[in-house]
């Protein structure tokens, strides 16, 4: 077999130190994505650092009136948390629309942030892929692109980000807390956490080598009606064609983000405060570069937004 070593870290600092000492090391928590990628030969880390025992699995209130979600809080637990359900319904709804009950029991908050794309060409090691082998090319471009990105693409990559949770976090303006080399901590706005592909699609996040996610922080609750609408080709256990994360108040869009359209959650700040979903869709989809296969995502995103806003209005009344 492909040999790899394994260690269990006892503290975040120790985990970071171990990762820095062993280039090519990967953190592992729930393993719902990484183990698959290892079995398929897409990832071959030389060293695994198990972070499951770092006690980062609590949800606590912050001094600012928000919530601090430990990196190891399981998706199922986060979705079921009473405070999340009450104050951050868009997040609870996004979480339960993802994966399956079994996977949500294992998958962690940080792991969900770190999910890799489900682009089918990324998954096939016989095909060139700039994410998998930087510089090898992109087989998806010119291929079957039914569920690939229409926004923020580059000549190097047209993959989408598969997470539902991250779309809700983007709408909520969450921050990603990390600890890095030398115990340095920082807080990365979710807006800056995921990167568009550009010419380096293999660099997917703002994390530096060895840097470990310790928590996700939510600001104080926004109130309003919070909806997450996931459009998919079967009723469960499918990646999104398009998703809409919406916080609305009295017919106005307070927060709006789309999923399934790009390599990161697609927040549409310019449309926020408005009440016209068509205008919001125009603003969101300006500059879209669809293929013949995925051009349907443009009208779908527009229609889904209109329906979701209408639903938010109905819920209120």
């Amino acid at each position: 077999m492909k040999p790899f070593s394994y260690e269990r870290a006892a503290s975040p600092a120790e985990a970071v130190e171990a990762a820095v000492a062993r280039p090519g090391a990967r953190f592992i928590a729930g393993g719902t994505n990484l183990l698959d990628l290892m079995k398929l030969g897409i990832e071959a880390p030389q060293h695994l650092i198990d972070v499951n025992r770092l006690w980062l699995d609590t949800i606590e209130p912050t001094a600012e009136g928000g919530l601090r979600i430990g990196a190891l809080v399981r998706n199922a637990d986060l979705a079921a948390d009473r405070r999340v359900r009450r104050d951050y319904a868009v997040l609870a709804r996004a979480l339960v629309s993802g994966a399956s009950g079994q996977l949500r029991n294992k998958a962690t908050t940080a792991g969900n942030l770190m999910q890799r794309t489900r682009c089918p060409y990324f998954y096939n090691t016989d095909m060139p892929c700039n994410k998998r082998r930087p510089g090898s090319g992109c087989a998806a471009i010119g291929g079957l692109t039914h569920n690939l990105a229409v926004l923020g693409v580059s000549d190097a990559c047209i993959a989408t980000h598969p997470s539902d949770m991250c779309v809700a976090l983007r709408a909520l303006d969450a921050s990603v807390e990390t600890v890095g080399v030398g115990g340095r901590t920082r807080s990365i706005p979710i807006a800056d956490f995921h990167r568009l592909p550009g010419d380096r699609p293999d660099i997917e996040t703002a994390l530096e080598p060895g840097e470990l996610i310790t928590a996700v922080t939510l600001p104080a609750p926004l109130g309003g009606v919070q909806l997450y609408r996931k459009v998919r080709e079967r009723a469960s256990y499918a990646f999104a064609n398009v998703t809409v994360a919406l916080v609305a108040r009295e017919g106005q869009m307070v927060r709006l983000a789309f999923g399934g359209l790009a390599a990161k959650p697609w927040r549409v700040e310019v449309a926020e405060g408005g009440a016209d979903p068509d205008l919001a869709a125009d603003l969101a989809l300006a500059g879209a570069t669809p293929t013949e296969d995925n051009a349907y995502k443009l009208p779908l995103a527009r229609r889904t937004l209109k329906a979701t806003l209408a639903q938010a209005t109905e819920v209120r009344s």
């Binding site: 077999m1 492909k2 398929l40 030969g41 489900r118 089918p120 060409y121 998954y123 096939n124 016989d126 095909m127 087989a139 010119g142 291929g143 079957l144 039914h146 459009v231 998919r232 080709e233 079967r234 009723a235 469960s236 256990y237 499918a238 990646f239 064609n241 398009v242 349907y296 009208p299 779908l300 229609r303 889904t304 209109k306 329906a307 209408a310």
Partner: protein, 712 residues
């Protein structure tokens, strides 16, 4: 259960407890051969071309590796026999040349002490390819097609010209994969000049001919044991590479070798249902009598393999029409050979034809159920024989009543339930019933046990149980005293589980064996005995056994005087999200007339399973072939969609009280394929009824519906 009335009862399957507790050992779990070595196949990374250079040095040096084969050093095998050989008997040489005929075709085979070592070593093999341009897409109906399997009556072109009401449309259906839960696996154990295989297979004795020719072994030197099979759906009928490579390796190494394909490999190393393009032509009088029924189907094949999925054949005998033409043409593509996939021919064929019938009903302004009833026939239009057990009309009427068809929205896109557009659809189902030659042995042991032996397999359908039921009834003994031994080449030869013939073949032959046993006992003990075992002890102290047989169709007089089919009608209600085009099934009913039902529970399970296949075909399943590289883009369960539990609400199957005495003396016919039947068509028609959008390129996805959806 004892005595009379056992046949038909809803008895839970006898192997249920050992299956749900994990004690039923499937092929890869068998311990019979002791510890095994493990194989791993390296598949070609291109769609067409040749291996220009392959370097196995690093793999051979990797830990635990016992053997690495490529076309340069693999053992000599029986040569490929090409298109002419019978599908079941053909050789299947592996690693036989540098040619790459399809993506994923084996180009190297590694055997190591563990699966992980074998897989890792395979990853160390470096390959240089010479890539050739391949053909990876069906072109559609060009000129100069070579039409095959024509079935013709009257003059369809003239009838289409005369109309007065006509439908002429083109439909396409994609590649489908069987993808049973249990992966294809083989443990091969070469011991004292005999090859023992623990192989996941739907038919066992049939495989020894082709395997023997490939391995250059006499078939009598090969045993195949397929005790439990976790689903087949046609994909475990023909010989595949896992049996050949594991056998070659155990013969070379003298140790048992296990080879289990991965889920991804099953998308390339096991056949698929070929993609098809259909042109359907229908004409009718204003009162809805068909005057023309035409179905031309273009099917993907390979140049060296012509699995001819009978997509157009369903139109031969479904409805009466004086002018009729059904026929097939082939286009060879550079993908793996096609194979039977559940409902071969009729699943895609009925989905297409019954969509066209729905289009005709709308043009005529006639209710779709009524249109089908008006074109019922008691004579097979193709064979010109009486149809035995033709109860399509009963299925349609009973289904319409039970489903509440009268509540169907008559105007498309006219019913709303919140954000859902709601529609109803109906379609007919029909499936040929085939009988093949089979032999079953029934033995009564004096100590109170009845043993039934057959090489029939139980692929998860409940064969063990129905055979025991029939024997219990025939001999008047409790099921608990009957032991059914199946799925081994040492047992009497039948034709396995496939083509929906296994249940009838096996139970009819078993019942005949029981009749022969009763005669033997009656000859010495009369007929008024109470305890059959006491009579056997008294008169046959060594036990008593008899064999029963079925004949092949072509040798059975009933099959010369009557045409044998099974029938059904499917009714579906769907909701289509008016904003997103997402289609969700709301409820569904299938009504079936398939002869006498042997076990109401296992039969219902199989029929419902088939119906779900129909839903899947209409809405979700499609193998996506990259048109440049010829690889399956969606070769896993994340991307190759099949329904989840959440996609299937409460559905039901009703089996009409039925008995087809022309099929056999038990009145039994097959149901394995029938459930799928026209179900896909009923779902497609319901989508049209809900939305007013007709999608003719299956599956019906939201992207195809969106442009035509009505406004909110």
């Amino acid at each position: 259960m004892i005595g009379q009335g056992v046949i038909g009862q809803a008895i839970s399957r006898t192997d249920g407890p050992i299956k749900v507790t994990g004690r039923a050992a499937y092929s890869a779990e068998r311990q019979d051969a002791g510890p095994t070595l493990h194989g791993y196949i390296l598949g070609a990374g291109i769609g067409k071309g040749r291996v220009a250079r392959i370097d196995i040095a690093a793999a051979e040096a990797a830990p635990g590796v016992r053997l690495v084969w490529t076309h340069e050093n693999a053992p000599e095998q029986g040569p490929a026999e090409g298109i002419e050989g019978d599908m079941m008997d053909r050789t299947r040489p592996e690693l036989a040349s540098d040619r790459i005929n399809y993506y994923g075709m084996p180009i190297a085979f590694v055997v190591a002490e563990s699966f992980e070592e074998a897989r890792a070593a395979a990853g160390l093999i470096t390959v240089e390819y010479e890539v050739e341009a391949g053909a990876f897409a069906l072109d559609g109906f060009g000129p100069n097609l070579n039409w095959r399997r024509p079935s013709q009556a009257g003059d369809i072109d003239k009838a289409m010209r005369e109309g007065p009401v006509t439908v002429e449309q083109t439909y396409s259906t994609p590649y489908h994969f069987s993808q049973p839960m249990e992966l294809h696996a083989c443990i091969a154990d070469w011991r004292d000049g005999h090859l023992h295989l623990y192989l996941t297979a739907q038919m066992v004795n049939q495989l020894t001919t082709g395997l023997g020719k490939t391995l250059r072994l006499d078939p009598s030197a090969i045993s195949i044991d397929s005790a439990y099979v976790g689903g087949g759906f046609g994909s475990k009928i023909v010989l595949h590479c896992e049996a050949v490579l594991a056998s070659l390796a155990t013969m070379a190494l003298g140790q048992p070798v296990k080879l289990m394909l991965t889920r991804r490999q099953i998308f390339t190393l096991v056949g698929h249902r070929p993609a098809s393009i259909s042109r359907v032509r229908l004409a009718a009088t204003p009162d809805g009598r068909l005057t023309a029924l035409g179905h031309d189907a273009l099917i993907q094949v390979r140049t060296d393999d012509a699995w001819d999925e009978g997509v157009s054949s369903v139109g031969k005998a479904l409805y009466a029409s004086p002018n009729r033409l059904t026929r097939q043409a082939h286009q060879a593509l550079d993908v793996q050979p096609g194979e039977p996939v559940r409902g071969p021919g009729e699943l895609p064929g009925l989905m297409v034809l019954e969509s066209a019938m729905d289009e005709l009903a709308e043009k005529l302004g006639i209710d779709p159920v009524e249109l089908r009833l008006r074109n019922d026939t008691q004579i097979d239009p193709d064979k010109r024989l009486p149809l035995s057990g033709r109860r399509l009309a009963d299925c349609l009427r009973e289904g319409a009543e039970q489903f509440g068809w009268c509540d169907r929205p008559t105007i498309p896109a006219s019913r709303r339930d919140g954000r859902w557009l709601v529609g109803y659809g109906v379609a007919s189902s029909m499936r040929g019933h085939y009988q093949t030659s089979a032999e079953v042995l029934v033995r009564i042991e004096p100590d109170g046990l009845v043993i039934v032996r057959s090489d029939m397999t139980d692929i998860g359908t409940g064969t063990h149980t129905i055979v025991a039921q029939v024997v219990a009834e025939a001999l008047g003994v409790p099921m608990s005293q009957i032991k059914v031994e199946l799925a081994h080449t040492k047992h009497p030869k039948g034709n396995g589980a496939g083509g929906s013939w296994g249940a009838a073949n096996t139970t009819v032959a078993a019942d005949r064996a029981c009749a022969a046993l009763r005669q033997r006992i009656a000859a010495v003990a009369g007929t008024s005995y109470n305890d059959i075992f006491a009579e056997v002890r008294r008169h046959f102290p060594d036990g008593l056994e008899e064999r029963g047989r079925t004949l092949d169709n072509k040798d059975d007089p009933n099959y010369q005087t009557h045409a044998q089919y099974t029938y059904g009608a499917s009714f579906a209600e769907v909701g289509v999200d008016i904003d997103t085009g997402e289609v969700r099934l709301r409820r569904m009913l299938g009504v079936f007339a398939a002869g006498r039902i042997l076990n109401a529970k296992t039969a219902r399970s199989q029929l419902i399973g088939g119906m779900i296949w129909g839903v899947s075909a209409a809405l979700q399943e499609a193998g996506a072939l990259d048109p440049r590289h010829g690889h399956w883009v969606n070769g896993d369960f994340a991307e190759y969609l099949i329904p989840t539990h959440a996609d299937i609400p409460a559905i039901d199957a009703i089996m009409l009280e039925d008995f087809d005495d022309k099929a056999n003396h038990l009145g039994v016919k097959g149901i394995g394929e029938l459930g799928a039947g026209g179900t896909g068509g009923s779902v497609a028609n319901a989508v049209y009824n809900a939305t007013g959008v007709r999608v003719r390129d299956f599956p019906i996805t939201l992207a195809k519906l969106l442009p035509g959806l009505p406004g909110r």
